[in-house]
Amino acid sequence: MTLAIILVVTAILCSAGIGIGVYRGAAGRESGSTIFPVDLEAFRNLIDPAESEYLRQRLPAREFRRVQRKRLQAAAAYVQTVGQNANLLVRMGQSAMNTADPAANAAAQQMVDEALQLRTNVLWATLRIRIAWVWPTSGLAATPIADSYNRLSTSAMLLGRLQTPATAVRIAIPR
């Protein structure tokens, strides 16, 4: 009977999970439609190993851990925002993929691909940041996030120009 209960509970949890998945994503219901600008340079600075090394040499070990954790918290907030932007760009790209214009279609396909790549990177980067928060003296390399975000920004601008020629779309703040 224990096995039966385990499997019944599993079935109930799976149906709840599927229900949430249906509601949140697969059916196309999303919340929020605002792209938040992300300061790439500030983010790069936060995840720069040279900066971390500089701080490590200048600060006492305890102080370095405290500062490093604050930097990681800030980096996590950036990554979360980047992930939210990627979600919105996936939606925008998917809706643009249904248009008759082949150029807009191709740009949309490229943007969705890059946004999905970014979403994958966000997953790994978040994991690494969480680990690094527990162990601040470990190295943190989330640079691929910054690079792919830059590429995504270019794709979003291209799609924006194709859809609304008068308006350029920018999701990263250039310096």
Partner: protein, 259 residues
């Protein structure tokens, strides 16, 4: 409660109607020629519906022995299970493999998950308590349980993966996956109770009605999503970046320039 017994009018209806509807759905899809995107699902509707109707006819035929019927059912279950996994593969390929950046991660994730689910299903089958009924009946119940453990896990993964990446499933695949999910979650719970719960025959029979009802609902979901055209709202205008965002970025840029 006479209706909730084997060979009651409701029992006949719930066994026959969903499968007749499934064959009707197959006929309509063939007539419309709109099955090109989901050939595995079309085969599933034809073979699955026909196999269930053959099992129903064999159940009523006086010349078919109980053992022969259970053997027939096990064969039908095996074929149906293979077809369902083909349908799941179809949903997965058509939804996620169109995006180059997801192909690799999706393949790795499916392989790992498939192995884990098979392992979990094998463990659950190995630890199932011995059934006092004929061995062949217990085997059929365990086969159902094993199939639904893997199927439910895979469906959960499809929806979770799509939700994480904010990928919208095409209407037809969304409908197919939703119908399969309704059926597989209920069937998993019911077959787990039947195979492991040590329940009395009347309780088992009532639980089988739940299975049949869930399958009927699943068939209706498939009919709705594959035959009823989407409304304009569902088709949707392409999303455009809102103007407010652009001015927001400009404000942000000005702020940075003045820093």
């Amino acid at each position: 409660m006479a209706l909730l017994q084997a060979h009651s009018p409701l029992w006949h209806y719930l066994w026959v109607a969903p499968n007749v509807l499934l064959l009707l759905l197959a006929g309509m899809l063939l007539r419309r020629g709109s099955y090109g995107q989901y050939p595995a699902f079309l085969v599933f509707t034809i073979v699955g519906g026909s196999a269930e109707l053959v099992a129903y006819s064999a159940d009523l035929a006086p010349g078919v022995t109980a053992e022969a019927w259970w053997r027939l059912l096990i064969m039908a279950l095996l074929i149906e299970a293979l077809l369902k996994f083909a349908v799941l593969g179809e949903i997965f390929n058509r939804t996620f493999h169109v995006y180059e950046s997801l192909v690799r991660v999706a393949k790795i994730a499916v392989r790992i998950l498939g192995a884990l689910l098979l392992f979990a299903a094998a463990i659950a089958a190995a630890y199932a308590p011995p059934d006092g009924r004929f061995g062949i009946i217990a085997r059929a119940h365990l086969l159902q349980q094993t199939t639904y453990v893997v199927e439910t896990g895979m469906l959960l993964f499809v929806f979770a993966f799509a939700a994480y990446f904010h990928i919208r499933l095409k209407r037809c695949f969304f409908g197919i996956a939703l119908g399969l999910s309704i059926s597989s979650c209920v069937h998993l719970a019911v077959w787990a109770l039947i195979a492991n719960g040590g329940l009395s025959n009347p309780v088992r029979e009532r639980l089988e009605f739940l299975n049949m009802g869930a399958y009927h609902v699943a068939v209706l979901v498939w009919m709705y999503y594959l035959l009823v055209p989407p409304t304009i709202e569902q088709g949707g205008e392409p999303l455009r970046p809102p103007d407010g965002n652009v001015s927001g970025w400009n404000r942000e840029l000005e702020r940075l320039i003045k820093q």
